[in-house]
């Protein structure tokens, strides 16, 4: 019998993990972090569960089965998210690690001239290998901001990370298989068993329009930050469909079925990964027929320093964070410390490549001691910005991207 309770939760862990150790360790340079003041220990007696898993940091556990864990904002400060801090999203069980990763087979079939089954080792040597720093973001990121609650794992902003992914272009593989003019959509399958253990049920199978599959940043990936892709992140091989709902970036990839219609696998219907077409009353049942597929993720800025709940020793605050915008580039990030009455532009760095998040920094002089909310709002290259509250409520809570805020207390 497997032992229960291996993912531990306690106030002690919370204080150790989030309150002090994490922030102190994660926010380089340390001197700057402490000059700005140590963050306050959260006052609530009941904290979140923290992940206890080899090779992973103490992420916040949203659910144990399937395992889903998000990265607290103050642990997202790296330009390239380290593997141990990268969020975990599963729909099913984690499959067994293969004895020989290079023998792992991927099938390409459906609307192609030459259906093929290729071993990972052959795939790696046959097609050009490319590396990009790209966002991977859970489709439900930001769900917890909806009111009333929307159904599903209650992600704050931590279902997102930017890793360096190495793989081959899906376009190169599809071209080798010869995409027929009848091809419309892809259907992706992975080796993760259904939660019930029933091998006949796929845990999830999503896809993308052919144009997105052929986009040169859409990759079949086998390395993450230069290391063999870890099992928990879909290793030995997964898709990365950057900027789009993470569920299309199939882990443990076994098959790409090229379809002559929009894919209809589990996770494509109902309210799954869909937004309400006609706005519905928040908290109502809605009509699954009146929905559209969530494709690119919405624009979002997240402050990574200081942490929410930080106590500041002085009124001077050098804050920083990352912003990203699905298919688009972030043009501006604006900061407000007075609930949106006035805004000040942050400095926004260019992305290293398309689909990477962008660093923003701002130096603020808070007007007094006391309590402040610091808000960060990104605007993309199309002029689209973030709402003040999560809008367009939908039963499964997609597209929640209200303006990010942290709460700080300046010492008297």
């Amino acid at each position: 019998m497997p032992k229960s309770g291996t993912i531990k939760s306690s106030r002690r862990n919370l204080l150790k993990g989030v309150g002090i150790a994490t922030v102190g360790a994660s926010l380089a340079p340390a001197g700057v972090a402490f000059a700005q003041g140590t963050p306050a220990a959260p006052s609530a007696a009941k904290g979140p569960k923290l992940l206890e898993m080899d090779g992973k940091a103490k992420l916040i556990v949203l659910g144990d089965k399937p395992l889903n864990a998000e990265t607290p904002a103050e642990m997202t400060d790296d330009d390239v998210t380290p593997i141990d801090r990268f969020f975990i999203r599963n729909n099913g069980l984690v499959p067994d690690a293969p004895a020989d990763a290079k023998a792992w087979k991927i099938k390409i079939d459906g609307e192609v001239e030459k259906p093929m089954e290729i071993a990972l080792g052959d795939l790696m040597s046959r097609f050009p290998n490319v590396s990009y720093k790209m966002m991977l973001e859970c489709g439900g990121n930001g769900r917890s901001f909806f009111s009333p609650e929307a159904r599903g794992n209650q992600w704050t902003n931590g279902g997102a990370g930017c890793a360096e992914w190495t793989g081959v272009r899906l376009a190169d593989v599809l071209k080798a298989a010869g995409v027929k003019p009848s091809a419309v959509y892809t259907g992706h399958y992975g080796a993760d068993p259904h939660l019930s253990g029933d091998a006949t049920k796929p845990s999830i199978s999503r896809g993308v329009p052919i144009a997105k599959a052929m986009e040169p940043h859409t990759l079949i990936v086998f390395k993450m930050n230069g290391k063999d892709l870890p099992l928990i992140h879909g290793g030995p091989v997964r898709l990365i469909v950057p900027g789009w709902a993470g569920s299309t970036s199939t882990k443990w990839l076994t098959r790409i079925w090229v379809r002559d219609k929009i894919h209809d696998g589990p996770g494509m219907g109902g309210f799954s990964y869909r937004l309400a077409k006609t706005p519905i009353v928040p908290g109502s049942k809605g009509d699954p027929k009146d929905t559209v597929i969530l494709e690119a993720m919405p624009v979002r800025a997240v402050i990574s320093f200081p942490a929410d709940g930080a106590k500041l020793a002085s009124r001077k605050l050098d804050l920083r964070g990352h912003a990203w915008a699905g298919e688009n580039e972030v043009k501006t990030v604006d900061i407000s410390t007075d609930y949106g009455v006035t805004w000040k532009p942050a400095k926004v760095d260019a992305p290293p490549n398309k689909y990477a998040w962008q660093r923003f920094t701002a130096s603020l002089d808070l007007p007094s001691a006391g309590y402040f909310e610091v808000w960060a709002k990104a605007t993309d290259s199309k002029g689209v910005t973030q709402p003040f509250v999560a809008g367009n409520w939908n039963p499964q809570g997609y597209g929640g991207n209200p303006i990010n805020r942290i709460r700080v207390l300046v010492a008297a």
């Binding site: 006052s43 144990d64 259904h194 589990p266």
Partner: protein
């Protein structure tokens, strides 16, 4: 048209033997068995890959992980056939939305169906224990005790 041949006979005999031995908990048909002694030192495995390497720790809930109430047992056993109780406890839904959640589980996730009265009992339990409860945006202010 069914004819018994030698291989049928063998299969039937073997099956019956295994069944008998399997059901023979008291060991009367097997005679005295050697007592079990653990092997002193397991032979070093020839570099067999550990299929669990890199997996998250196993997780199992018990019925006590759900709050007490009428319908707790049937809710626990129906829902945790697939997912953990943490997912249930994270929700705050009206009975209507719990009802459509049930449909989602049946249709999208291929849940094993339950009887109508069990469904009603589960929905009553979920709606009572996990109603919408999200408070205003300052309900969790870190500087308030």
């Amino acid at each position: 048209m069914t004819q018994l041949n030698i291989s049928h006979a063998v299969v039937i005999t073997l099956t019956a033997t295994f069944l008998l031995l399997g059901l023979d908990r008291a060991g009367e048909l097997r005679g005295p068995q050697p007592t079990y002694t653990p092997r002193a030192a397991p032979a070093a495995p020839a570099a067999v890959a550990d299929p669990d390497k890199g997996k998250p720790p196993p997780h199992n809930d018990t019925v006590d992980d759900l709050p007490d109430g009428k319908g707790r047992e049937v809710t626990f056993y129906s829902c945790t056939a697939c997912h953990g109780v943490a997912l249930i406890k994270a929700q705050g839904l009206t009975r209507d939305l719990w009802d459509s959640t049930f449909d989602l589980m049946l249709e999208r996730h291929k849940m094993v169906p339950v009887k109508a009265e069990e469904r009603a009992e589960i929905l009553d339990y979920l709606a009572e224990q996990f109603p919408p409860r999200r408070k205003g945006r300052n309900a969790d202010n870190p500087f308030l005790k």
